[in-house]
Symmetry: C2
Subunit: 589 residues, 2 copies
């Protein structure tokens, strides 16, 4: 149907007759001649249609943007060379122009910037845009590079089921009614976690899968109901084995796919240090700002808002120094306060440093009146604030303060152009094993219930679950958690102890995880692994904020596919076969 | 945790101290010494535990089959070399033996042949068996080999959604209730068919995906509710482009993965020829037997069972000659008749040829009395039956006769050891566009509704849909359809015409396929593709009858996962959130 690709026509083909297929990317009528830019996946070439070739010309005058054409013609040197185009030294003088498919009433022009609903509704047009082709191809090359390495290293690429059993990993399951087994359901996997552990128990030694996962959560801008992870598991390993392998893999793949240099080795930080310095378990190290604890400086003041948390072992008083921030208007500071409030702050104290040497007279702050010279001196020393800086203060419970101050840090960094243009990876380790859910009065797993604790014996774990540290680890890049993993529990007694601490009784454990508990008694090897978010890594590599740009057919934030119009109603007969019926939720009543 | 793999210990390591991890594959106590066979994914090595190393010995005497161990020891030459083992020239004299995980009360011995329910329930034990490891690794190498070729050839590996819209491809959809959109459902894809067509319209030119697909059908031995296909699509192609590329790919991959030589080029056969000669659209060419039409010979006889179909343009009278089959007992012939009945035969006439020269006296047959010399001579000439052969006859509607005679051909071939030990690929082409469903009074698509017909204009198609031939093609290997594809419709008028013939009205077409019809009007290129059944190809390569042997976690024929016990009941609260309720089917009332 064609002899060459549009984007690859070059001077070596001059005087040859070739056949191209592609889309009309542009059209100019000039001096009685029609110039068409013909585009395929390799690029664009100029086609000239002269009135002398009557039939071709008659066709060419009728075509518009995005018509799909087949063109035969002779390659010739271009008089006015266009050095911006790969094919800019040649053009094709058409002898035949065939319309393979017309494109009338385009809903939007590809060269403009259509809104995202239009892009998703007409995804086939959106994806034709060279920018989208580039981003999708970045993702494809990422996956290829990962597979090539893993295949060569002896990892076994094994598919695990999509129709599986519900797991209680916090987020909600998508359910699938069974036709054969009335009243029973499959669940779509939130991850292949248990299957990959079972594969280690099955003797596969090293496993990977580019795995589709599903979470029925309320979507945020960077979440999708279905997403893709590189899922990996290793038998007979400890943390360092997994971390060293995948760190090298990620570094190599970034170098290969986008020519990015990630430092070696990655910096490492405990979860506690990350929260303390950056107010985040996925700190964006491209921003040089850090949180500073000032409890020591304000312990003695009358001001309860500061002194209370400063004297509470579970409290925190932290400051963030915004260099040059004294120039911010009251309105800008109010915006920062609103941002902090969105992330859990009850208020936001601030202080402009006009003259650091001037004592309380040298600062402007609504809270200055509650402080004394000693406190101020302590604050200025701890934060190293200089004249012209702005200090933001958070005081309250340790976790809450860390969270909203971390959010402020990110906002300030972005607003003030303090985000370095670089790649900043790190490992975050030593996560707490559990979070205590005060409302439910029980512990929940910070990673998942199969993560091993650092302590080897279950009595020690049970003795102090509040302070238990897990063998989990996250890989963070530029403020995004791109990978998360752990060494897993491989002994039934420890697994039972963790279930018990999580409030999963023996009966529930047996019903949900009986097969795992049984497998742990039949020669389960020590094992551990990690999973990487392919969509997020691809977005980082492609330089886009939105993972929707690296997913061919993404869903909206209300989980709809605008192109095919899914989800949609189905017939009563279909539901009847599946033994279910639509019923308004009790909560709607 | 370990320094070497069990299966790779060799003479180069003699006198070195190494650490191994693995499972106890066997144990012998001999002369006061414990011999352990330690197994990992690479193979088995003999470990010797001497009473002199007290702690190690004390541990070793306690271990049994499938205990997971860590062993440290020195490699030494083996006195009694075992040439059957890769590691048979060496052994490891243990200095330390650590039980990483015990395995008491094994549900079955791995060296025995457990029944399939046990194997699926304890899949982690079943998969440890070297035979299962071999078969799974064959599948893994198959997928790797395919990907390597396709990546190098510029095919774009693009993921398409799993949560998608219901399609009417005949088989039943798995449905997923939406939490966000009350009363609406996603469907799991039966194939990525429309998405891959859309990708061609999106300018990706060549696409592939190792894609999970779902069909909620009543399962047969070789079906799974979820299965994997290599899905491919090409833009700007005709049949030969697709077929030539994938034929070479399949031939190369069989050579690479299992050292199998597939002839070049593959034989080609129209659908009609395949049905006529082999009674199947996926003929097993390893069996040399062919069906023979004998209508001409029996047109004139009184016997209505033969003469009726012989004189009916839609009828068929076919014979199958079973070489040496005259030796079959009446009971054996009854079994053949039962098999034919199972495949739609209303009866099975037969004839033993005792003396082909002897006229009606020379044959034994319940139908001989209805025939005359001319008919018999015609039958013997057409079938070339020789003395000692058995003839089986089918008469009736063309399709039905072809089907059950084809089934008989397979059974006779297998029962009588006539299946050649070889690889017999072929292309089957020129499928009918439609089958007429007499009951429903309408046409159904033989491939799917997006398959292009051979005729280019919709008027011609509508004029004679009964005889319309499609641009579909199947790749068949040893009686299995391993791949199926077609050139697709790329013009909206033709697509509408096909929908109309299939009884899909404009409203239904718009509701279900509106996006496709729209895309076909916006510069859709000509395109075509194919999909290969990975599970089936892997099973063929691994030499197993059952695709369950090449799927890590398969489901039973009643669609259950015996290991995790899916599907299973879920809580009322979960269903409430999804706006559905379990309701007995109307058909159960």
């Amino acid at each position: 149907m064609r002899t060459h690709y549009c984007g690859l026509v070059d001077e070596a083909l001059i005087d040859q007759t070739i056949t191209l297929c592609g889309w009309v990317d542009g059209r100019r009528d000039h001096g009685g001649v029609v110039f068409l830019d013909l585009r395929d996946h390799e690029g664009i070439v100029q086609v000239v249609v002269d009135p002398d070739t009557e039939a071709a010309f008659a066709t060419a005058v009728e075509v518009g943007y995005e018509f799909c054409l087949r063109v035969q013609g002779k390659v010739r040197a271009r008089v006015s060379v266009n050095d911006k185009m790969k094919t800019g030294r040649v053009e094709v003088l058409a002898s035949e122009v065939e319309v393979l498919n017309a494109a009338r009433d385009l809903p939007f022009a590809l060269h403009e910037n259509p809104n995202e609903d239009m892009r998703l509704t007409y995804r086939y047009l959106d994806l034709r845009r060279p920018e989208m082709q580039r981003m999708m191809r970045t993702r494809i090359r990422l996956v290829q590079a990962l597979r090539r390495r893993l295949d060569a290293a002896g990892f076994q690429d094994i598919e695990t089921p999509i129709l599986t059993k519900a797991t209680p990993e916090g987020a909600r399951d998508y359910l699938v009614p069974s036709r054969v087994h009335e009243g029973e359901f499959y669940a779509l996997p939130q991850s292949p976690q248990l299957f990959k552990q079972i594969l280690m128990m099955a003797g596969f030694d090293r496993y990977y899968q580019i795995a589709r996962c599903f979470r029925d959560e309320d979507l945020r801008a960077d979440r999708q109901p279905e997403f893709t992870q590189l899922d990996m598991e290793f038998a007979f390993v400890e943390e360092a084995d997994v971390q060293n392998y995948v760190e090298t893999m990620i570094r190599d793949v970034f170098a290969e796919v986008v020519d990015a240099k990630l430092e070696a080795p990655f910096p490492r930080m405990t979860w506690h240090e990350a929260m303390r310095r950056f107010g985040s378990d996925k700190p964006d190290l491209r921003i040089a700002l850090e949180l500073v604890d000032i409890a020591e400086a304000v312990k003695h003041v009358e001001f309860k808002v500061f002194a209370g948390p400063a004297n509470d072992p579970n409290g925190r008083v932290a400051a963030l120094c915004v260099p040059g921030g004294a120039e911010l208007s009251r309105k800008q500071i109010d915006e920062l306060a609103a941002h902090a409030a969105k992330h859990g702050a009850k208020g936001l104290a601030w202080m402009k440093v006009d003259n650091a040497q001037g004592g309380l007279e040298g600062v402007s702050s609504p809270v200055a009146k509650f402080l004394d010279d000693k406190a101020l001196a302590g604050i200025l020393e701890a934060t190293r604030a200089a004249d012209g800086d702005l200090l933001l203060f958070g005081a309250g419970a340790w976790g809450a303060v860390s969270d909203f101050m971390g959010a402020l840090r990110l906002k300030v960094g972005k607003d003030r152009g303090l985000v370095e243009n670089s790649w900043k990876p790190l490992w975050v380790t030593d996560f707490p094993m559990f979070e205590h859910d005060a409302e439910a009065g029980r512990f929940v797993a910070l990673h998942h219930p199969f993560t091993a604790p650092k302590v080897d014996d279950e009595a020690a774990l049970k003795a102090d679950p509040h302070n238990a540290v897990s063998r989990g680890y996250d890989m963070v890049l530029n403020g995004a958690e791109i990978g998360g993993g752990s060494i897993r529990i491989h002994r039934p007694d420890m697994q039972n102890a963790v279930f018990e601490l999580l409030g999963i009784g023996p009966e529930e454990a047996e019903a949900k995880f009986g097969f795992l508990l049984k497998a742990l008694k039949l020669g389960a090897p020590p094992h551990g692994g990690i999973a990487f978010g392919i969509d997020r890594i691809a977005a980082l590599m492609a330089g886009t904020e939105s993972i929707r740009d690296v997913i061919a057919f993404p869903k909206t934030t209300s989980a709809q596919d605008l192109m095919t119009d899914a989800p949609s109603p189905v017939s009563a007969a279909q539901l009847d076969e599946l033994h279910v019926r639509v019923a308004p939720s009790a909560s709607d009543d």
